[in-house]
Amino acid sequence: MTRRTLYGWGRTSPSIADVVLANSEEKVAHLFDSSAQVIARGLGRSYGDAAQLSGGVVLDNHELGGIGPIAPNGQVTAGAGVSIDELLQLSIPQGWFVPVTPGTRQVSLGGAFAADVHGKNHHRDGSLAQHVTSLRLVTPTGVFTCSPTENADIFWATAGGMGLTGIITSLTLQLLPITTDQILVDTQRFNSLDTIMDEMSRRDEHYKYSVAWVDCMTKGAHMGRGVLTRGDHATTADVDTPTRTAPRSAALSVPFDAPSGLLNPLTIKAFNELWYRVAPKEKLGQPQSLGTFFHPLDGIGNWNRLYGKRGFVQYQFCVPDSHGDTVVQAIKRLSSSGVPSFLAVLKRFGAGNEGLLSFPSAGWTLALDLPVGPAALPEVLDDLDTMVLEAGGRIYFAKDARLSPDKVAAMYPRLAEFQAMKHRLDPAGQLTSDLARRLRIVGK
């Protein structure tokens, strides 16, 4: 047990906790013997305070390892502490890819399920929980095997439940067969937000993967201009020398905190301009490696240090299709308030799942990286919350570090069901986190 300062990927609001390791279900269950408060932590890639607990016990899940053999039908059981990266190192050479991956491979499977992460294929394939066939969950009231058919109510409370229903120790995942390690990518540049959104609405269905990078710093007619990349797995027929090589780890790393203010309106504007200019106007069928396509930022270790000591917040919301104009309004509000934001990620969501606190729901999602510093930022984001709520949308807990607790129940209408289940599994309220306290998701 070591006392450590923990914070999220955005490096705001650190807190101190006793960090413990455990390599078996029995040892995990032991944590609930005392009255200590507990939360599990994976690789610390949630942006805010989801995987920290001031004054409590934080279970670092990385000793919950082990990847079972991949069955002929593509099912594999792995420890909750296994990262998507580790799984891919093993599975890609055997011809299997993960069914869903977020923008980084450096997440633990347990953490990914707890946040019910989504990827570029959400419009077709949904989020991670829809591809998990079974998991083991250690709670203060016992150990459960959960799946969409067994203990389904616990399974769907845990998907997106931010670790508050228990500690996931292992999961069984349905992998996706692939024949090469390449994606055939269509890249198109659009000089306005309307044209991108129009194109995505019309033709995203033709691609397995789709995402757009949007420039939020340009005002006027070109507001929200951006680059749309879509693709599908290449087959052996598509490439001359098919290979199945797993992505390599980061070659470069940011060795220390950049000065706060390195990423300011000027540099961010320049970066966004460059990004837009460098992208081809239209390039179709270009093969890209899995790593380049899915995890571009994994090429630079500790890139969050570029934001300096003050850190940054990521703001991600989703709104139904009928309120696509909320995306336009949000970008307008940001670009007019002078709050700098790095390239925003725009994506279409398919239908949501039964996860009580699962984030994705059909429509649009926009994610923004915002350095902490501008005095107007807290208020601008509060205004965006109101807009999102009025549009029937919500904020993603895994990214959040500043939402007001007053808005949580309205954004997540099944919160009361979640709380009832949580109370059943954890009557003494031992499972909590700084996020859960801040958003009043559970008691103290």
Binding site: T12, I16, R310, P378, R402, L403, P405, R437, K444
Partner: protein, 255 residues
């Protein structure tokens, strides 16, 4: 819990009826604060400030009485305030202080000693208790109201400025002692602030109102800067003033 911008939910304000403390409380409540416990020496003023906190968005407010002339009571005051919040504390503001009339005080040993008691001894006793409790919870911030007057003590108010200087320097060390505990301490060094404490004194350059100070506090909570100046330019002004030759300093500081 506080959020990514350092906006707290549970707050204790010692000296909660001062104009600056009230302005800060208003801003905090308008942001994320839902529970505030205000401590002060006058129940009527406390009730008034508590009502205002509610109007600005706090859902739970309470008050604690104390007398800053009695340092032996400081720990009781802090305990009572923490208990009344009943949850983890995100921010403790220490805005306890007395300006006094230097000309009256400097001829009266007992009154001079009282200046030290109120401006430094009581706050240090309270800080000791606060420090222990926040370290135990593994998170929290302390905001201590100092003054730019503490940077270089001037003859016209050596008792007040001197006491603030003591508190300010002590807090610099205290802040360092907290590294690695999850707790942080920030110093607020305002310049001349138009308030009831300074009523009747004439304005000097870089004077501000209390709301401007509160704005700078909100920005300071977000940035985490160890010292928050208000207005921010005073950091540079005093960076120069502190190095003036003494005769020149006396001339400048006498206005």
């Amino acid at each position: 819990m506080e959020n990514a911008f350092g906006q707290p939910q549970n707050v204790v304000v010692l000296g909660g009826t001062s104009d600056i403390a009230r302005a800060v409380t208003r801003k905090l409540c308008a942001a994320r604060t839902h529970t505030v416990v205000l401590a002060g020496r006058n129940q009527a003023l406390l009730d008034d400030a508590a009502k205002e906190a509610q109007e600005y968005g706090a859902t739970k407010v309470d008050t604690v009485l104390f007398d800053a002339q009695d340092p032996s009571d400081a720990a009781r005051c802090v305990s009572e305030a923490f208990d009344k919040v009943g949850e983890k504390i995100d921010l403790v503001v220490i805005a306890v202080g007395l300006l006094g009339d230097q000309l009256e005080l400097e001829v009266d040993p007992i009154a001079a000693a009282r200046m030290m008691t109120v401006n430094i001894t009581w706050p240090v006793a309270a800080l000791t208790e606060i420090r222990n409790r926040l370290i135990a919870q593994g998170s929290g911030r302390i905001l201590v109201m100092s003054s730019v007057a503490s940077i270089r003590v001037r003859r016209g108010s050596y008792l007040y400025s001197g006491a603030k200087a003591g508190l300010d320097r002590l807090c610099e060390g205290l802040a360092d002692s907290l590294i690695g505990t999850g707790v942080t301490l920030q110093l607020l060094r305002p310049g001349f602030v138009r308030s009831k404490m300074t009523a009747g004194l004439k304005d000097i350059p870089f004077s501000t109102g209390v709301n401007e100070v509160a704005d700078n506090v909100m920005r300071g909570l977000a940035s985490g800067d160890r010292v928050i100046y208000s207005p921010p330019i005073l950091k540079y002004v005093f960076g120069v003033l502190r190095h003036l030759p003494a005769p020149l300093w006396r001339k400048v500081s006498d206005r």
